[in-house]
Structures are given as C-alpha cells and as structure tokens.
C-alpha cells in the first residue's frame, strides 16, 4: 500500500510533494485548477480533463441525432409517434446502465469502465448511418443511450481524485462541461451536414456520413482515457485490488439496501428527474420545435438549440456554488430552499416558454430557462452527499437514474404522437416540474432539519449518534 508505482511526474529528489497540486492524506487534490496548463502534469487534473472530455463525447453522440431529425424523418418516412418513441428509447437504456455502472466502477475502476463503454458504443453511433426503417432508428437510439452511464464513472473518478473541500466543485464543473456536449452537437451536426451537402452529396447520403464525426471522436477520447488516465492519484485499480479487504465485497449488499431504503434518495431521484430529465427532453425536442413552429432553417434551429445546452458551461457549476454558499449560511435548510426555489423558477419559465408566440421571445425565455434548470441539477448534487455517507454511490446512482426516468416519462406523456401541440406540451412539462419539486419540502434530516422544521435533537450530542443517523 505504501509502495507507489513509479510515475513520470514524481520528482525523485523531493519526497514531500510528489504531485504538482497540494494533496491531502489520501493523495486526493485539495485544489481545483482547470485553467492552469502546468497542473496537467498531476494525475488529478489529467483525470479531470479526460473525464469531462469523454463524457462530453458521449453526450455529443447521443444528441447528434435530434438536430438532423427534420431530414431523417423525411428519409425514413417517420411519424410523430416514431420520433417520440425513439426519443424515449434514447434514455431508457441509460436508466439501467447508470444503475449498473456504480458497481462496475467499484470492480474495474472508472477508467476501464468508461473507456470500455465508450469503445463499445462508438460503432453503434456510426451504425446510425445504416438505418433504413423506423424500427432500426428506434433501436439505434436505444443502444446509443447506454453510453450516458459514463456520467456515473465521471463523478466516481472525480470523487476518487479530489478531496472533500473541492469535490463538489470538481463534480459540478466536470458534469456541466460534459453536458455542453448536447449543445455543441446541436450546433455542429447541422453545420457538418451542410458542409457535406456542399460537396455535391445528396441529402439522403449526407446525413448518414455526418455520424462519422461523433463516433470517431468518442473512440478517440476512450483511447486517450486508457493511455493517459489513471484511476487513483497513486496508480490504477488493478494494482490495489489485492489490498482491498474481503469484508468490503460482503458489505456491498448491505450498502445497496441501505441506500435503497432511504426515502430521501427517492425524493431526490424524483426532483432530479424533473430538472435534468426536463433538460434532456428539451435537448431532444427543441431544435424540431423552432424548425416547425417558427420556420427557421436547420442551422438556425441547431444554433438556438445549442445555446440551450451550452449554458451548462457556467450554469451547472453555478448551481453547485450557490448550494455551497446557502449551505455555509443556512446549513442544509439553505440548500433545500435553494433547490426548491431554483427548480420552481425553472418550472415557471418552462410554462412561459410554451405560451410565448414570437421567435425572439421564445429564444430569450429559453435561455433564462436553461440557466435555471441546469443550476437546479447542480443544486441537487449539492444535497446528495449529505443523504448517506455509507451508500453515497447508491444514492448518486438512484438520483442519476431518476434523471433519465424523468426524461423518459416526460417524452412518453407529452412528446409522443400528435396529441398536444408542442407548445402546450412544453407548458405542461413546466407545470409537472413545479408539482414534482414540492416533495423537496418532505426531506428531513434529524440532525440538521428540513425546509420547514428545525433539527430534532441537540447537535452537540456525541458524534457516534450522528454517524448512525447519517446511515
């Protein structure tokens, strides 16, 4: 355990600080410097950049299809129902893959887990160029959605590399920058399509060729993760597996059930379903909405849809920062109120988005809505670490999966078939967000209180009482 495998960045002459970043006793970094090029020599920041880049490529691939749907639906003779079913299918696979990713990361390490998933799903992204029927279209979207499980590997890797004081920020920035992949994809794919058609390739073939870009990018990031990444600050999982005690594997079932029976995990899963889930659904339908309702062309629709996803650059990290600030001033009560307020505001803006009739107004409301809904995602993961220390992985997995369940439910109820007009569906989605954020008021921590009630016992009591309640 004390023997570190030789690493290139280790200065053999000065033992006290083998890393270029300050670290704690577990060798996890205590500082987070995403913009400093010199920090790249430390495995922590290298892991950060590899993690967010590979998750970015997964989001890029999953959302490479929606901006081209106006072309694909003509080519494959798709109906509204087909498009809606495919949208749902794209998130269905990730529900189960996200739940499974937690244990897989435990066994194999986040590096191997995420790279394997990326390399296996990259050919499937390219196979989107071979679809010729609605059924195969739905199947491809279902299979590509599996790669979103890399979110769990990403957060797991950050938690292994960064110490408690910066892990929230590292998690938030990593997830936020990766989520931008959905936005960048909406912007780039129409441009790639137009570039290919300008080479005198017919539209029927051009959209198929466009998928070469996301699949190659995904494979490249996976290979980079394998070559340059490492699971832990001092080496890879395989080298430390032998030192893990057997009792850890036995307790896994206990840890799992401990997490599952915690009602707070379920409530957070529900609320995350109506902030991140709504964000995913909006990513799926927004380009088509602007193309159909306001008659803008494919590139403009893609640009507008992109600005929705790209707000993640700052809005999700901002949510994490707000949560930390509210926590500092008002404790858990502040974090819960912050989550409720931001998510309800997002719901109101979503209702408004469906009612605005002009193009300029819609774009403006959509931009403000994007900031609030993404910040709500960051605020949710500001509460998650406090739910359970023992079952943090399980709670994170439940919350993360809840996000995609919300996406599937909203797509299924509101955006499959032509029952409601798209604008009515968007307003109804906002209404559902407001209603499903109310359960946040039910979250209660005996030692810290909830939204309306204070703590039910004196926080000065012996520490072991607290630990049991933290289970």
């Amino acid at each position: 355990m004390e023997e570190d495998p030789p690493s290139p960045q280790k200065r053999s002459t000065s033992p006290p600080t083998p890393f270029t970043l300050p670290v704690d006793s577990d060798k996890k970094a205590t500082e987070f410097r995403p913009f400093s090029p010199s920090s790249l020599s430390s495995p922590h920041m290298r892991a950060f950049h590899l993690a967010w880049l590979s998750l970015f490529s997964c989001f890029f691939s999953t959302f490479s299809i929606p901006p081209l749907i106006p072309i694909i639906r003509h080519d494959l003779n798709l109906t509204d129902t087909d498009v809606g079913t495919a949208g749902m299918a794209s998130f269905l696979g990730s529900i189960f893959s996200r739940l499974a990713m937690g244990p897989v990361c435990d066994l194999l390490g986040p590096r191997v887990a995420s790279a394997t998933l990326s390399l296996i799903t990259a050919p499937i992204v390219l196979s989107a160029s071979l679809v010729s029927s609605p059924q195969s279209f739905i199947l491809v979207r279902f299979l590509v959605g599996f790669c979103l499980a890399n979110f769990v590997a990403n957060q797991f890797w950050m938690s292994s590399m960064f110490s408690g004081c910066v892990v929230g920020l590292a998690n938030g920035v990593s997830a936020g920058w990766a989520n931008m992949g959905a936005g960048v994809s909406q912007l780039l794919m129409p441009l790639i399509f137009t570039a290919i058609t300008s080479l005198n390739v017919g539209t029927h073939t051009a959209w198929r060729l466009a998928f070469i870009v996301p699949s190659t990018f995904q494979a490249l990031t996976a290979i980079m993760v394998l070559i340059y990444g490492q699971d832990l600050p001092s080496g890879n999982y395989k080298e430390f597996k032998k030192t893990k005690t057997e009792s850890r594997e036995e307790k896994f079932v206990h840890v799992l059930f401990n997490g599952l029976k915690n009602y707070r995990g379920w409530i957070l899963g529900l609320t995350y379903g109506f902030c991140f889930g709504v964000e995913l659904t909006t990513d799926n339908i927004i380009a088509q909405y602007f193309y159909d309702r306001f008659g803008v062309n494919l590139q403009v629709a893609g640009t507008i849809a992109a600005s929705f996803g790209m707000a993640n650059l700052f809005s999700r990290p901002m949510g994490g920062v707000i949560s930390d600030e509210m926590g500092r001033r008002f404790g858990i009560r502040g974090r819960l109120w912050g989550l409720w307020a931001v998510q309800t505001a997002a719901g109101l803006l979503c209702v408004l988005l469906g009612r605005v009739n002009s193009l300029c107004g819609s774009v403006l409301v959509m931009c403000v809505f994007s900031v609030f809904v993404q910040a709500a995602g960051g605020l949710t993961f500001g509460v998650v670490p406090f739910v359970s220390k023992r079952s943090l992985g399980v709670i994170s997995g439940m919350t993360g999966s809840g996000g995609t369940v919300g996406a599937v439910v909203t797509q299924m109820l509101l955006f499959s078939g032509s029952k409601f007009s798209k604008q009515t569906s968007i307003s109804l989605m906002g209404l559902m967000m407001i209603v499903c954020t109310l359960p946040v008021s039910l979250i209660y921590f005996p030692q810290w209180g909830g939204m309306f009630c204070g703590p039910s016992f004196d926080p000065n009591e012996p520490a072991d009482e607290h630990y049991r309640l933290l289970q």
């Binding site: 109906t79 539209t203 029927h204």
Partner: protein, 204 residues
C-alpha cells in the same frame, strides 16, 4: 434598459412584418384551374428517375375574364392525407403561410390561357410518400387567387406514390464495419497489453 427597448421593438416589428404578408386563406380561393396527371392507380414512381406528366390550365367552361388577375402559375407537389397522418410537420392549415401540405415546387411559369403540359423528372430529394399535384394562380402582388388540383376535394382520388432513393452506399457499410472492428480490437488490444505488463512486472 436599452436592451429591453430593442427587444420590444424587434418583437413589434416581427409582428408587423407577419401582418404585411397578408392573410390569404385557402378557403377563400376559387377553384378555377384544372390539373391532371397521367399516373395509373397503384403506380410507384422513383425519385430522380421517373417522369411525371402534368397538364394544367384554366377551366374552359368558365366565363371569360375570370383569369384577368392571374399573372403567374405555380405548380406544387402536395402530400396526400395518408402521408400527413401523425406528422405534424406536414399539417394542412387554412392560413396559406402556415400550410405545410405542399412542400415541393415543381415549376413556376408566367400565366398562359391555353392548356400547358410538362414532363417533370421527379427530383432526387423528394421523400417516400403519397402525393397529388396542385396549381396556384398568383396575381401581380404574388398572392394566391385561385387553385386547381389533380385530386378531388376530399383528396382521395388519383393519388400516386413516389419512392425516394436510398442514401445507403456499399462504401459506407464497409467503413462502418471496419470502424467497429477497429474499436473492438483496440479495446482487446489494450486489455492484452495490460495483462502482459502485469505478468512482466513481478519478474523485474
């Protein structure tokens, strides 16, 4: 403050511009034109290859002077109801600016009193669907004033199918297979390399 003013101004302007385009409703148009297509029932035409013969002109039984305002004729390929079902992006609306029934322009020509015929080779980007042909007569301000179509008012007769060309090519199929093989080989190559490194390191 200035930004808000600018936003309000642009919203107002866009509304004005929308009004300027006029509110031509399809139900206000007169059906004075006749259009026929030489297609057999159940015939499937191939996009990019087959020809569609269209004959159009003013209904000769109408009084003279009916066509005094007609300056241009526009022929369009329109979706039949069966191809519009469950596809909101092809919906029929009375408001002609919002109507998505007729998405493909066949030809636009100056108005001619006599019957015209055209042999149109179906363009390669026309998707697979069931269609009919509609002709609009435009006045000097380029507003629709009359129409005629190759089917009846319920859009049930004389419809024809067009089969789109497929975008799949053998080269793309081969490239996909090669890429998949590369991906899987890279993964297993990495595992093999790691195993070899692990086996070699205790010997060091």
């Amino acid at each position: 403050m200035a930004a808000r003013g600018l936003l309000l101004a642009s919203i107002y302007l866009s509304l004005l511009v929308h009004e300027c385009y006029g509110v031509t409703l399809f139900s206000s148009l007169q059906k004075t034109l006749q259009v026929t297509t030489t297609t057999k029932r159940g015939q499937v035409l191939k996009a990019g290859e087959d020809k569609l013969t269209i004959t159009w002109g003013l209904n000769q039984s109408l009084a003279a002077g009916t066509d005094s305002a007609y300056k241009t004729m526009k022929l369009q390929l329109c979706f039949a109801p069966v191809s519009q079902k469950d596809r909101a992006w092809r919906k029929t609306e009375d408001h002609l600016n919002k109507d998505k029934t007729c998405s493909f322009k066949i030809v636009e020509k100056p108005y001619n009193k006599s019957l015209q015929t055209l042999d149109w080779i179906i363009e390669s980007d026309v998707p697979t669907a069931t269609y009919f042909v509609r002709a609009y007569a435009l006045n000097a301000e380029r507003h629709e004033v009359a129409y005629g179509q190759s089917t009846n008012d319920q859009k049930t007769t004389n419809l024809f199918d067009i089969q789109a060309i497929t975008g799949r090519h053998a080269s793309l199929d081969i490239a996909s297979v090669c890429f998949s093989v590369f991906s899987v080989v890279a993964l297993f190559g990495f595992f093999f390399h790691e195993k070899r490194k692990a086996r070699m390191s205790p010997q060091k």
